[in-house]
């Protein structure tokens, strides 16, 4: 028997999972980040004085502070090209009397009160470039806060035998399994497995696309499905959207409601996974009959954890748990706590290993994904960030899954949209790898429920500041 030389995979068919990224610039012109205001009389005066002072030395006179082309249009500073401004403030430092740089309030209106323009900016960068956002000059935001901002992930200072050790990021696995795994296997006398056996499928990254509450069908659904198929993940779509997307059958997860029980055949393909929008006996029976091999997930809220455990004991093994788009439950709980509670409920019931928990709602940045997994999710089904990647505009506050309005660009094309989603997925995956690499974990499955590798502001602050005058736990 011959072996391929180490490191050569030419004959093994081996290939490493890789998301091909490609620039996919905005198709919709969004307001520039900065307003560049130049008082023309001041500029004219400066030019005149420089012409005189530098005796017509053209290159000296025309040497302007901006390195980014804002003043390089045909009439220079008389008509600044604001879209190029990166807010370095060199111009206003050099010419405080007549140049003023402001944040553009129109830009700041993008998104809504939860999906703020900073998050929109970030998603726009990630989905247009496929890159990890990298900037200099340290952190600029608030110290901590509620929710995701009050949580930090751990890192491993040295290589330790007790941890996975460090790996090249390219060899960290982001594969997750969706489905049912029994706590233990049973075998008969002949050594054959009996009873419950695992029923899972693996996807290449812990990111699903959730369009289950997409306001309308149309092109977005096809974009979600094709991008998911090309990424080897899943796109959750309404029944109506899923019809006709049989070419992406591997990737499409239709969301089924009781009224769909009688028309499952219309789907036109056999899905690998389906979601039931709330439990319904008749629907469950119909799905089982029509798609006996399909994994059936229950799409429901986070909040009623005893009910979730009861469903699991009745045979539901995959849960797609929903908060609203701002990450809230109807009672006002935040998704980070909702995930922890749901995860803990299954741990307490001794069946966490048997079930898969997917979650949606309020997870709008790359860092929310590993944090959600540390809190207990197996994978995140991303919702509003996909719309932002497709340059959808928010119609006011968009918290509700049923009553929010998102306006997609009129010029939306499938090829562009697919690339934007692939870029976003690549960027988020690479950022996940940064987190996993720092923690010394070699696969994302080990992240789930790793609460010991998380730090929470309340606890850290209490440890650090307890005993100081004025500090109470209530702080």
């Amino acid at each position: 028997m011959t072996h391929a030389p180490t490191g050569s995979h030419a004959h093994t068919g081996y290939h490493r999972y890789h998301i091909p990224t490609k620039p996919a610039p905005d198709i919709e012109k969004w307001p520039s980040r900065f307003k560049v205001k130049v008082r023309r009389s001041g500029l004219a005066k400066l030019l005149l004085s420089e012409v005189f002072h530098y005796r017509g030395r053209k290159d000296v006179i025309l040497s302007r502070p901006c390195m980014y082309g804002v003043f390089s249009g045909p009439v220079g500073g008389f008509m600044p090209r604001e879209e190029h401004c990166v807010g370095c403030l060199r111009c206003t430092t050099e010419f405080p009397e007549f140049v003023r740089i402001e944040h553009n309030p129109e830009r700041q209106k993008l998104g809504d009160s939860y999906f703020t323009f900073n998050y929109v900016d970030q998603i726009a960068y990630e989905s247009s470039s496929g890159l990890v956002p990298v900037r200099g000059a340290g952190y600029r935001g608030k110290f901590g806060g509620e929710g995701w901002d009050g949580m930090w992930t751990d890192m491993s200072e040295i290589v330790r035998p007790t941890r996975d050790g460090i790996h090249g990021r390219e060899t960290i696995s982001t594969v997750v399994d969706i489905g049912y795994t029994p706590n233990f296997l049973q075998f008969d006398a002949a050594g054959q497995p009996v009873g419950n056996t695992p029923q899972t499928l693996s996807i290449q990254l812990p990111i699903l696309f959730d369009g289950g509450d997409l306001p309308r069908g149309g092109q977005a659904a096809a974009i979600y499905a094709r991008a998911a198929a090309e990424l080897d993940t899943l796109a959750v779509l309404t029944f109506e959207q899923a019809i006709g997307l049989g070419q992406y059958a591997r990737a499409v997860v239709p969301v089924l409601r009781p009224q769909d029980a009688a028309r499952l055949g219309q789907l036109g393909f056999v899905p690998r996974v389906v979601e039931m929008h709330g439990w319904d006996d008749a629907l469950h029976a119909a799905i089982t009959a029509a798609f006996p091999e399909a994994i059936i997930a229950l799409r429901t809220g986070f909040e009623d954890t005893p009910a979730l455990v009861a469903y699991a004991q009745r045979g539901v093994k995959v849960f797609h748990l929903l908060a609203d788009f701002h990450g809230r439950s109807p009672e006002g709980g935040f998704v980070l706590d909702l995930i922890r509670d749901a995860h803990k409920a299954f741990v307490d019931a001794g069946i966490r290993e048997e079930v898969t928990l997917l979650g949606s709602g309020g997870m709008i940045a790359a860092e929310h994904m590993p944090k959600a997994m540390i809190c207990g999710l197996d994978a995140v089904a991303v919702d509003t960030p996909l719309l932002v990647a497709l340059q959808a505009r928010f119609g006011g506050e968009c918290a509700s899954r049923t009553a929010s309005e998102f306006v997609l660009p009129a010029r939306l094309s499938e090829a562009w949209g697919v690339q934007r989603l692939k870029n976003l997925a690549a960027s988020w995956r690479d950022q996940l790898l940064e987190i996993l690499g720092a923690m010394g974990l070699r696969e994302v499955r080990r992240l789930r429920g790793e609460m010991g590798r998380a730090m929470f502001m309340k606890t850290l602050e209490a440890d650090a500041f307890a005993g100081l005058l004025g500090y109470t736990e209530a702080n």
């Binding site: 005796r55 030395r57 000296v60 040497s63 502070p65 390195m67 980014y68 807010g87 370095c88 403030l89 060199r90 206003t92 430092t93 050099e94 010419f95 405080p96 003023r100 944040h103 970030q122 990890v132 956002p133 990298v134 900037r135 200099g136 000059a137 340290g138 952190y139 600029r140 110290f143 901590g144 901002d149 949580m151 992930t153 751990d154 890192m155 200072e157 040295i158 290589v159 330790r160 860092e367 944090k371 950022q431 940064e434 987190i435 690499g437 720092a438 923690m439 010991g452 590798r453 730090m455 502001m457 850290l460 602050e461 440890d463 650090a464 500041f465 100081l468 005058l469 004025g470 500090y471």
Partner: protein, 433 residues
Amino acid sequence: MASIANKTDEQLIVEKHITNLHNGFAHWPRAEEAPPALGDSRWTQDLILATWLMAETGQVPDNGLEYKIGASGGGFDVLDFNIPSQDKWLPADTEIDLSIPLNRRDDGAQLKIDLPMYGGGMSYGSISEHVMQARARAAQQLGTFTSTGEGGYPPSLVPYKDHIITQVATGMFGVREETIQYAPIVEFKYAQGAKPGLGGHLLGDKATDVVAAMRESVPWVSLFSPFPFHSVYSVEDHRKHVDWIRTTNPRALVSVKVSTPTDVDMVAVGSYFAGAHIVHLDGSYGGTGAAPEIAKKNIAMPIEFAIPKVHKYLVSENVREEVTLMASGGVRTAYDVAKAIALGADGCVMGTAELIAIGCTRCSNCERGRGCPFGLTTTDPLLQQLMPADWGQQRIVNMYTAYATQLRDLLRKLGLRSIRELRGRRDLLRYVG
């Protein structure tokens, strides 16, 4: 006019922009309204402008600029000092000592610094040589240190070698026998707060011929420092590193720079047992180099939480008096320094504040195009000239001079004669969040 005629276009361009910039740095702190797009929660408009003013004058701002805290809503920004009533203050002419020893063990040189601060590592290539020179000369003038970062030791720094810490990081870029031998202190960078667990990264655009030569690498190719030291699996392995340095340079003190994971206290004690003189904790909110945004906010804990954790643990292990604990990563002001010390550090390592003193607006464009438009984090030959080393030196010295005034004033009001007496005095702090 003769002088204009005799100068090249490049000279005139550089002079023109330098003059304009210096006017701007002087103008804005005194203007009625700050530049609207300046500042963020951590470095507010006021903090940046106050730093510019201190760097210009060497004085504590008295024009209403908030120079003590930012608006981050946590950490140092929700701590204040319990200042006793005036009758308990020390007399105005009391000598207040701001020096701290850097070696509390009984081996190696007994180094001390005149201020409880030194400059953090910023590498050749990530910042301009002018900036390095400014920092080194300022360190010499102030009786403290600055660190090379992981990029080598340009020959122009050798005259200041008694004030320069040589950094040894995971990529070993620019580490040579002589640069270890120059160093009064050698700093092992295990991790850095802005990108804990991620190693370093110099973009190809910055790896010019000169930078690459210094790093013994290929020009215009991105350089990655891996994470972590792949030769270190244990405290014993770490000890081997320390021994290696001590063999090369027996008089050097060893500093170990680590980030702030959940078990930062164990890491600190491990470093002590491996022979470190200085344990340098680098929290997650600082840093001047390029870092993934996801790392800055989300990985490892802020320095305000790490200091007391480590201090307490070193005390409980009965080794606190043998370790110099330096803190960095989001230490922005003299008051942050004092708070860090009251929480348990011996002193602080400063980075961003020095860059702001020499003109940084914190715009975060360091890695874009030709690099910093103010000539700081760039290797562009023209841009570098915007920050002349002698100007930068004076600005940094001035800033620290104003810091020293604030620290002395604070200590006097707290009834302390030495900054060393402030260490771990949590009773002097209050929470105002």
